[in-house]
Amino acid sequence: MSWIRRTGAVALAASILQTALLAADAAPQHGGTLRVVQRAEPKTFNPVVALDAPSRDILRRIHADLISIDRQTQTTVPALAESWTRSKDGRTYRLKLRKEVRFSDGAPFTAADVVFSFAVYLDEKIKSPQRDLLLIDDRPIECRAIDAWTVEFRLPQPYAAAERLFDSVALLPKHRLENAWRQGNLQDAWSLSTPPEEIAGLGPFRLKSYSPGERVVLERNPYYWKKSLPNLDAIEFRFLPDEDVQLARFVAGDVDILNRVNPKSARYLQSKGASLADLGPGLEYNFLCFNLSPNSSKRAWFENRDFRQALSLAVDREAMARIIFQSRAAPIWGHVSPGNKLWYFAQLPRTPRNVPAARELLKRAGFAGKPMDFSILVSASSAERVQMATMLQSDWKEIGISVNIVTLEFRAMLDRVLNTRQFDTCILGLGGGDADPNPEMNVWLSSGAMHLWNPNQPHPATPWEAELDSLMHRQMVTLDYAARKQAYDRVQQIVAEQAPMIFLVSPHVVVAQRGNVGNFRPAILDHQTLWNADELYLKTAGPVQ
């Protein structure tokens, strides 16, 4: 129970600190440049093809969407659509656009830009990563303009939480990109070498400069639709690939905000006087996944449910949270973290570590006395996940299972997991995006490419996977939250009982600032600290010297 007390103490201290940070925000000041860091450089300034997090983190400050998800309440709020209505059958949405809105180059924004944007995202030739999110049951949504300030979206079937689809879908300036689209080279538009003045958006900032290997600078958009915002004159994204270098630069005063702080670094930062906010468990869940594909060399063992459950019983999740995350993580037994207020299933059994029971289960399943060994594939760049693998290795040694840890570069690891399927088990993390279950359809549907234990199944391989398919479809088309929740609770229960993945921990979201940033309201949803970049401001004097 000690971890619960410690976690509680940390959460309490964090909430006091957060209250103190928020209480300090009285009258926002204008001006100044906010300095933030990124691990990698953007690969493009084109929001249609941007796939990597560094590009998207920058582009979200340059562009705006119709409806946003408020990162703090996790609910939808109007953005460029000031209101919307839904038809009785749940298939038609009519959105009223804000008038007098202009792109950052001064051109007016109308319904034609919305229709153009969705036509581009849904264009099969472009292969935009957003396209999959705009397909419902493999059929695209339809968009048409009713008048200059009204657009209508027709869904192929009722879709729960359809408003959430619009979040982060950047609206594009038709007058700038239509020619490129008609000529079939929109993918190449707005590359890193494009002059900044050619890139226009509806977000609070616009591109000012890009220095390869060094930084991207965004400047205030004078046409931003929220009057008198943004408060900042500029945001500077510096590229520092090494986390320790980021820490050193932050401590030296070269950086104002650190978006995600490694729990182990938190104490170090506190000792240096930084303002930390521990927001409690985020949406990310870390897990060990078995390879249950037909070509898996250890399939005979892994497809035995008792074997998987025995392994789960032998895992010391509390020790993982305490040792790896300094108690800034929650042990988990299901895939929805306690940080997900709307979808967390509190009744899911949380069985503590029980080595004798695990041994008994293995014995009952006929594994007693058999030499058992397999490997855990883990990304070398994630120190925490390598540590998880080391702790699992020690935990499972106690029940007679020998484990080899294989560390690989992240992309090489993903290639093995998603394409070649040459692995026994792997440790991964998912769930950093939206709180809603729908973005994870491809994880839980047996036909999904991200159904990690056995992806792309033509037909569900097991009865429980067939039930998962049916429940996920049901929750997707049900508009009533309570009915959706009931279906999704059952999904969580089946996954926990069948244990194709062993859920381990959900790390807390910890962010840091130097104490000089006002309106700082970090959230557990991505992007944790810059989601309200338009409201952030720099105080004239920060407490950290």
Binding site: L247, D316, I323, Q387, N404, T407, L408
Partner: protein, 266 residues
Amino acid sequence: MARISLIVIVALLLAGPLFCPFDPIAQDREAASSPPTIHHWLGTDDYGRDLAARFLYGGRWSILTGAAATLLALTLGWIAGGAAGFIGGAADAIIMMVAEWFLAVPWLYLLVAARAAMPLDLSPRVAMLAIILLIAIVNWARPARLVRGLVLTLSRKGYVEAARGFGVPRWKIFVRHILPGTAGLLTAQALLLFPRFVLAEVTLSFLGLGAGEPHPSWGALILPLKQIYLLSDHWWTLLPTLLMLPFFVATAILAQGLEKRYRLSR
């Protein structure tokens, strides 16, 4: 002094595990991240593993790997260099051309690339053998070139010419009169290469290409030190690294001395 230090350090590393009460792999999670105590002389790591035990066992692993790789690299170099120098002609040209290829590529990069290309799913023992083999294969060229040069020099010595004049068979001249002359060079090379190969094993472990967790090695002990908070929060994790320094300093001094003496004697 350096010689005595090295003997003491190697003896300690080889015999140390015998009197160290802790298993370097066993996790005592209740004692995780403990500073040095009467029981844990160097403290414990994140998982509660005794750092002194990990230093001693890890040192033994690194030193045995380095020693075995040195022996193998010198043997390969000796055979190749001896053959090139003594046979001459096309054999000499081919062997030296291959040696130059190996010398042209920075050996550490080549080693890392070769290890990364191998399967990573190896048991610690197989990984150790693979590393020994790789270090030797990547590093045979330098001793081979030196041995070849020495063999060519020795072949022109008066006593070798005399033996040839008396009709002594070529192989006998090689074994009796030339090979013994390479002993000094090989000893100096061994002392030069040994710490470098220990360091190579440490580097591979540091990069995650060594024996892997939970096996102790010096590289794995250095690995956490790249995290900035460790020096302020877990200062004792630096102790094993500090204890490695005398080994490398002693071997470097000894190697320098031997090389100097060998050059003077020539």
